[in-house]
Each structure stands twice: as C-alpha cells, then as structure tokens.
Amino acid sequence: MKESKSAKLNQLQQQENHQNAHLSPSKLAKLFDPDASWDKDQLGDVLHWIRQVVGLISGLLWGSIPLVGGIWIILFLAISSGIVYGYYAMILKVDEEDFGGHAALLQEGLFASLTLFLLAWILVYSLAHF
C-alpha cells in the first residue's frame, strides 16, 4: 500500500518536472490510461476542456439543423454531463472521492460550457436561417 503511494508521489513529481514539455504521445496516451495517476488540477482542466468542446460542437450542430425550443438546452446538459461522467468513471476509472466527489467533477466548466453552447447555437441559428 505504502509502496504504491510513494510510487504515485514520484509520478506526480515527474509530471510536475515535465509540465512545461510539449504535448507528447505519452501525454495523449495518459488521457485514456485508467492506471495513470491524476492531480486534481489536471483532471479538472481536462474535464473543463471536454465540456467546452462538447458545448461548441453541440451549439454549432443545434444551430445548423436547426433545433428550436428550450428542450434542447436540457438535452445538451444531459449529453455533456453524460460524456464527462463516462470519461472519468469508465475510461479513466478514477475514484471520484479522491477529487471531491461526483458533484465537483461534473461541475467543472459547466457554466462556461453552457454559455459557449448558447452563444454558438444563437449565432449559427441567427446567421444561417434568417
């Protein structure tokens, strides 16, 4: 038990030493590695950007089709939360209690993502369909 913890600490220190390095294949592999250890800030940042990408894509998609009605806001929130949950619980397999619980992880980037989604949706809808 203690050996694995010290190993994790060593990994964390190595990550901090290399945090200025450019994006490398090992870093990309880490995004899908359930055995990788995650710092709270790092996981939070990854979940934040996942939410932003989903928000932007959903907004562009909703606006292009176009989907009209407030129900699609609810659907977007459900989809993006499902994607984030699926990522950290099923792909990374992290213990959410180590990071403040499900609520903290699902909240990461939520409001910024919602506003980005609404912005993209409104802009594409307004410009493409009028």
Binding site: K5, L9, K40, D41, G44, D45, H48, W49, Q52, W62, G63, P66, L67, V68, G69, G70, W72, I73, D98, F111, A112, T115, L116, L118, L119, W121, I122, L123, Y125, S126, L127, H129, F130
Partner: protein, 196 residues
Amino acid sequence: MATAIPLFASFKYADSLTVVGISFCTALVCEAISWILIYRTSSYKSLKSSIDKASKKLETMKTDNPSSKLTNKKSKTKKIDRVESSLKESSRDLSLFKFKSGAVVALVLFVVFGLLNSLFEGKVVAKLPFHPITIVRKMSHRGLKGDDSTDCSMAFLYLLCSISIRTNLQKFLGFSPPRGAAGAGGLFPMPDPKTN
C-alpha cells in the same frame, strides 16, 4: 475589410458577429491588463506557488491517514491546522491582489458595454432558437420594442460572450486561480469540519 463588408451585409444579423468580435477583443484587453498589474509581478508568482504547495500538502496529509497512535494523530491534526491557516492567509492576500486589477477590468467592461449599448440600442442583433423564461427575457429583450421574445438584444449576447470567452481565455492562458485558493477563499468558505 473591404471584401468582408459584402459578406457581412448578406447576413440579416451580422451585428451579432460585431458584438462577439468586440467582446473577444475586450477579453484580450482585460487579460493584458491583469497580466500587467498582477501576473507578471514576482510577489504574485511566489504567492501562487505557496498556495499550490500548501494545497497539495494539505491534500496529501488528509488522504495519508493510516490508523496511527493517539499522539501521532494529535500532532498531525496540529500540522493540518497550521497548513490550513497558512493557505487561508495566502488566499486572502491573493484576493487583495486581484481586487486591484478587478477594478480596472470592471471599468473596461463597463465602458465597452456602454459603447455597444449606444451602437445597438433598440436593435435586434440575433434571433433566439428558444423562448426565454421571464427572468432571462428581461436581459435578452432589454431595450427592444415589440413582444417577440425570441428577439435577442445586445445585452444578452454580450453577457454570454463575457462569460464563455473570458472564462476560457483565462483557462487557456493559465490565469485562472489555483483551485486550493478558490476552495479556501471562495464566497462561501466551507465550515471547518473539526469544529462541527
């Protein structure tokens, strides 16, 4: 720019792109101001690193909690208290730091809002793909005539831009506050679990 004008003219709601463009430039200006006033200073850097260290140390001490002897437990609690108070102190200093640039940034945002308001007062800059609820409509229909609630005013679009663009820009540039500081110095500080 000359070639862009015909392209923009073909869109009925081209004004929305103007609002977004101005908001984006404003966000860049605000971050530049913050960088000049705060982030480049050595005192901020040392403060941020001390917060990061204290936050990580606190997390390590809390998770690393085997069933140990009574005396060890008491001394560990004292250490945790010390690190926590140090973290709170640094977070308070950080808040004071931010207040200085916050005033300038708020002024810039206010001036830009006034400018956009004068340009687009009473003008529909976009069409909403949903009917906003009452509390949202007050913002989204601000200054507009008529009763079509899907008309979108500049104010609502500016609000969405401010939140989404500035938040993500700060994140991208690495200017967002350390999570330890946000937790400790937030608007609603968590009650100390040991006192409960």
